[in-house]
């Protein structure tokens, strides 16, 4: 059986990474990310009521159910519902209604449908003895276009964190390991962003930076497992081993740990995504993309790259050192 040797296939990994990253950059430039989870353009149906005077909790449930019935009969799907409580800002006079339900719709709702829904809701309210008091409930449609969301983290921050951590890696494991680690962290951040752009997974506006940061951190952690195994190989071997043998031996001990760690992280993300509310699910589940990059790079791309990096560093370290020229030649002298 042919043994799978990823450290011998660097051109293939470079080609795969290049294709994904370049395609991702083009899509990022042309379309950006799919920030549908942020509901960048939405219609809202607001139902205002006076919770202190007229509408108790039982009536609130009734009102909510009544609205949902009308949306369903008009073929509208509610993307989200939020409860709001009125508050006075500065010198603003008290608002006539103290609380409201806000139903969000991300698909386009025509003016006719809006009018029809509003009229049907009002008719049903009037027909309901509990809700039909004078001015007890007020309904209104709104439109919203988000111009800015929380997407202003300084992107350089992750790079600074990773570089500082890699300085430590360079001291403890060697400059070659740190250089490969740096390449992998940058690669994984870009790879994750590219995958997000290509797959068009709906995310929140701030999510791409957060995902890139997570990918870079995970990449660092997984690459460290390789570094530890490489250090162990160096310690255990009696004579200096060549780059390929070192990577091969380290890979044999590291890949299972990398797979287990990445698997647990993926399981935690899946668990959170599976059990959480839709809002949290939309924030967390796409984080699986941030696991794909580091796993690919530490299991396939990283070892292949490190063979070349280590070979170059071995060559450098041999320069200027006396070479073994053989017993006979030494004797001749």
């Amino acid at each position: 059986m042919n043994k799978f040797r990823p450290w011998k296939k660097l051109p293939i990994w470079i080609a795969i990474s290049a294709v994904v990253i370049i395609a991702g950059i083009i899509l990022m430039a042309l379309l950006g990310f799919n920030t549908a989870a942020e509901k960048p353009q939405n219609s809202q149906f607001e139902v205002k009521y006076n919770v202190a005077v007229d509408i108790d909790e039982k009536k609130q449930d009734k009102l909510e159910g009544l609205c949902e019935e009308v949306f369903k009969s008009n073929g509208l799907t509610v993307a989200d519902m939020q409860k709001a409580t009125s508050v006075a800002i500065s010198n603003e006079s008290a608002q006539p209604y103290t609380a409201s339900f806000v139903f969000y719709f991300t698909s386009e709702v025509s003016a006719e449908t809006q009018e029809k829904v509003q009229s049907e809701v009002q008719t049903k309210i009037k027909a309901d003895a509990d809700l039909s008091g004078e001015d007890m409930v007020y309904t209104v449609w709104h439109s919203e276009t988000v111009t800015s969301a929380a997407d202003y983290v300084w992107r350089g921050a992750v790079a600074v964190g990773i570089v500082v951590a890699l300085v430590y890696v360079a001291i403890r494991f060697g400059v070659g390991s740190a250089l490969t680690g740096l390449t992998l962290a940058v690669h994984d951040a870009l790879f994750t962003l590219a995958l997000l752009a290509i797959t068009r997974i709906p995310v929140y506006a701030a999510a791409p930076v957060w995902f890139a940061a997570t990918a870079a951190l995970l990449s660092l952690a997984l690459w460290l497992i390789h570094c530890m195994k490489l250090r162990a190989v160096k310690k255990e071997s009696q004579v200096p081993v060549d780059a390929e043998t070192a990577v091969e031996t380290a890979y044999a001990g590291a890949w299972k740990w990398i797979a287990v760690c990445a698997g647990i992280v993926a399981a935690v993300i899946l668990l959170t995504g599976a059990l959480a509310t839709p809002g949290v699910r939309a924030a967390v589940l796409p984080l699986l993309v941030a696991v794909v990059g580091p796993v690919y790079s530490t299991l396939l791309f990283g070892p292949a790259l490190h063979v070349h990096v280590r070979r170059a560093f071995d060559k450098l370290s041999r320069k200027g050192k006396p070479k073994y020229v053989g017993k006979e030649k030494q004797a001749d002298k």
């Binding site: 205002k48 989200d80 939020q82 409860k83 709001a84 409580t85 009125s86 508050v87 800002i89 500065s90 603003e92 608002q95 409201s100 007020y138 209104v140 709104h142 919203e144 276009t145 111009t147 800015s148 969301a149 929380a150 202003y152 983290v153 921050a157 992750v158 600074v160 964190g161 990773i162 500082v164 951590a165 430590y168 890696v169 403890r172 494991f173 930076v209 957060w210 940061a213 870079a216 951190l217 995970l218 660092l220 952690a221 460290l224 570094c227 530890m228 287990v260 760690c261 647990i264 992280v265 935690v268 959170t272 059990l275 959480a276 509310t277 839709p278 809002g279 949290v280 924030a283 967390v284």
Partner: protein, 500 residues
């Protein structure tokens, strides 16, 4: 470790963990039926995406941690449909109603005062192009202002076509009013606002940027916040000249945006400096931030001629849904259960050592997120905590496995633990240091929400390192002192060798 020492340590450790778990996680109603004892976790500030009530059955709506505030900025002459309809209903005379309906025209979801905002022309009302251009500039200005606040989860949106709606987290609602001010930035000096002389005007021949470079905020080591205004040489001279007589008669410097005061500064001596640091006892971080951002954008930002009023304030519960936090707790519960099943099945009673370590790690994290002012319980911090939880579990499992391998070769348990730890100590040490460094240095540079994620990641990586390399070993030692069958206690077995 001797049995007596172990018993004392185990009792103390158990009491410590029980006490920490109680204050961190247990909430209950007090016997008077009115007050409630709230756990640390309950009282931890949540971010805008998550939220939870605290207190007992008599909850009031203001007993809620998390969520945030929204407010709508309406341009002068524009009102909401609700305001229009409410005003119309309140009029008794038909003539008044007719005047009102003639004065206001509906466009989009809003009503426009046709006297203040002229129509573009045509049969139906549509605001003129100049208004539209000014509104676009205003949207750009408000967006820049709220982005400059660097708040987590802030949102700015165009609402009903010609209003601006803003959402900020729970503790930052104080920014709404100051950030609504528009107009030129001027500096006045005098005893009161009405008689004060303008010393840094936006004249036709000069710009305010000839006098003022900009403004920013800083937080001091004692937690006090202040605004810093940078002057040009010309600005410094103008203020020094104006305040030259301040030692004899005190006065006030008024920093104004349009017709509103952005800041006031009482002066009792001459001010002659490039940067002015302004603070007072009522300054909070958000008020300092909003004053600095207001001044900076009034000096260097986009200009708009529209004036705005802030209305329709409302408090929104968790943006990710009312029960989102509860479900995150359930996720954690499932994870913890799976973790303990693994440890108890694979390592039998040695799982207790990990359980004690993990509980200390958990309580330490909860206490830190509660006590450190800039941290909130958010999805980001939860994920950071879960990632380092995995790190702690893997680290503990590695130490157990190393000891298991040593024990299998025939060594005593004490020797196995010692050798096992010594074999993996530096690897685990390096792993934790590297991750903590990456987390903390990212935190130093990043802004929310990444900074919170990075800080919690860095902090819990340190906790995980301490837990795995020190506390876990200590727990192991005190737990094993009692059992004569140490191998069975840990589910470790000797390698079987065949006799020749």
């Amino acid at each position: 470790m001797g049995k007596v020492k172990s018993a004392i340590c185990l009792t103390l450790m158990s009491l410590l963990i029980a006490g920490l778990c109680f204050i961190c996680f247990v909430s209950f109603g007090l016997p008077n039926g009115i007050d409630t004892y709230n756990s640390i976790l309950q009282m931890t500030q949540k971010d805008a995406d998550l939220g939870m009530r605290y207190g007992g059955a008599d909850d009031e709506s203001d007993r809620y941690l998390g969520g945030g505030y929204t407010a709508v900025y309406y341009p002068e002459g524009v009102i909401s449909a609700e305001e229009y309809e409410t005003a119309l209903k309140g009029m008794e005379e038909d003539a008044d109603k007719q005047d009102y309906t003639e004065q206001y025209a509906k466009f989009g979801g809003l009503y426009f005062d046709t006297e203040k905002i002229k129509s573009k022309g045509g049969a139906a009302y549509e605001p003129n192009d100049d208004f539209k251009a000014q509104f676009e500039s205003a949207v750009e200005l408000f967006t820049a202002r709220y982005e400059a606040l660097h708040l987590e989860d802030v949102r700015v949106s165009v609402f009903d076509d010609y209003a601006v709606r803003v959402f900020v987290p729970q503790n930052d609602g104080a920014a709404f009013t100051p950030l609504s001010y528009t107009g030129d930035f001027t500096v006045k000096y005098g005893s009161d606002a009405s008689s004060a002389a303008t010393i840094m005007p936006a004249r036709s021949t000069e710009e305010i940027t000839d006098y003022v470079k900009g403004a920013y905020w800083r937080t001091g080591a004692d937690g006090s916040s202040f605004v810093v205004i940078d002057f040009t040489k010309k600005g410094r001279t103008a203020l020094a000249n104006a305040s030259s007589g301040a030692a004899d008669s005190s006065a006030t410097v008024f920093f104004r945006v349009g017709d509103n005061d952005a800041l006031q500064l009482s002066v009792s001596e001459q001010i002659d400096q490039d940067s002015l640091y302004i603070s007072n006892s009522s300054f909070t971080e958000i008020s300092a931030k909003s004053s600095a951002v207001l001044i900076d954008t009034a000096v260097n930002g986009v200009k708009t001629e529209l004036a705005f009023s802030v209305k329709d304030g409302s408090f929104r519960h968790a943006q990710y849904g009312e029960n989102s936090l509860l479900w995150l707790y359930i996720v954690f519960g499932v994870f913890a259960l799976a973790m303990m099943v693994f440890f108890f099945v694979r390592y039998h009673l040695l799982g207790l050592a990990h359980l004690y370590t993990y509980l200390l790690f958990l309580c330490g994290t909860v206490l830190c997120v509660w006590a450190i002012p800039f941290l909130t319980l958010s999805v980001e911090t939860f994920i950071a905590f879960m990632l380092t939880s995995v790190l702690l579990c893997v680290s503990d499992a590695v130490t157990f496995e190393k000891a298991r391998a040593e024990y299998a070769t025939g060594k005593t348990m004490v020797s196995s633990v010692k050798t096992g730890y010594s074999k993996c100590f530096w690897n685990l040490f390096d792993l934790h240091i590297v991750l903590a460094l990456a987390g903390f240095f990212t935190f130093f540079v990043a802004l929310p929400a990444l900074s919170n994620f990075a800080f919690v990641f860095g902090l819990t990586a340190v906790f995980s390192g301490l837990g795995s390399l020190l506390i876990n070993r200590f727990n192991w030692a005190i737990l094993m002192a009692y059992t004569p069958k140490k191998g069975a206690f840990c589910n470790f077995a000797r390698e079987e060798t065949e006799d020749e």
